[in-house]
Symmetry: none
Amino acid sequence: MPHTVDPVDSVPSIILVRPQMGENIGAAARAMLNFGLTDLRLVAPRDGWPSRRAADMASGAFDRFTPQLYDDLASAVADRQMVMATTARRRDMVKPVYSANSAMTKLTSRTALVFGPERTGLENEDLALCHALITIPVNPDFPSINLAQAVLLLGYEYRRHYHETPPDHLPLGDSEPASQKDMEDFMRRLEAELEAGHFYRDANLKPTMQRNIRNLFMRGHPTAQEIKTLHGVVSALIGNKKRRL
Amino acid sequence: MPHTVDPVDSVPSIILVRPQMGENIGAAARAMLNFGLTDLRLVAPRDGWPSRRAADMASGAFDRFTPQLYDDLASAVADRQMVMATTARRRDMVKPVYSANSAMTKLTSRTALVFGPERTGLENEDLALCHALITIPVNPDFPSINLAQAVLLLGYEYRRHYHETPPDHLPLGDSEPASQKDMEDFMRRLEAELEAGHFYRDANLKPTMQRNIRNLFMRGHPTAQEIKTLHGVVSALIGNKKRRL
């Protein structure tokens, strides 16, 4: 369930993960601005940045906003409270799947919409950082849509929904959704403690186990207060030991 | 009022009037096929036909259908029963204006969706051949969308209205949702371990803390497999201690 949307920063960020072609970055930027989106984040663009091809395709969009560069998806989503990834392929993950239309009713303040590289799409490690997946209902016999066009469709859906449909929401009381950095810090600590506790018996399965645990917590979409509680839970479970030593 | 749609040929034709760039024709064809549209009609393409640039951008769509060529819009729409034109600019005409979304509820058998040339758009003479206009709700400060992207958005709306959109769902793979008894057993165990770890410092707050933790896990809606994983997590965190004792 989404949290209450703060109108001031409910406009989603667009994150392109390892985009290959500058043309697509530029066309995506143009499509974003067509629908009023201006927070573009680039994770390790293949051909570097800035890009002349991107500028050519942006039709002036880069005069209106400047993309931010990141080394990895984790840092690009660190300040986001809700992260949704578009994906064409079916994934073997227990994670909610929304249509592009329905996804817009799940927006929170500080949402990120994440798009993978052309052709290959997002890695499972990227998806583990996301709360939900978004599918676009394409012709199954010819499903491959261009990166910039996927951005365009989400921008269109965003604009179509924004003023019309009040989103579903989750009343938070005095708390607010955890930032992805808080989430990451908690996951790191939990993973370190699990390592110390010999939880990962089979080294080959460790990445899958980590992803599964992460997916479970992402689905819960903890508040900042709940992350503190989870730290307290871990401290109580391991700290108990320390007191007994 | 819409007429009854004949399912056999309710799929709209896409008509590009005097398109300038072959690239845009190819990208439009690809976008059409992404959403199951295959009747493309070209009115006097500027650079002639066939076009190598169009073929390059179509990503194989022209292997699946062949565009028909026309000298003017009147002949391109001769067999159509409903003709709607996309237009960015406001026109001084007494003609219904529909949103892209709403336009899909007006489809009849043999509908045409008409798109004008890049930059200039449709002439008033073209619009006189149309029953209605379609607008796409763009950012008024940056409204110009690419020809192929306009086709994409109408194709998307068509498919959204005439094909089932898969409902939101949570793919479970080989697992199944945990029973409430499994959930309850896990919560009991966790609460007992938290009690042992002196997690509940203030007895008055204990019921609230328990409820908060439970709510977080309920939101995640764990699978049966994930409940087993959570037991493993607790065992690792407390068992670690036992090994060290």
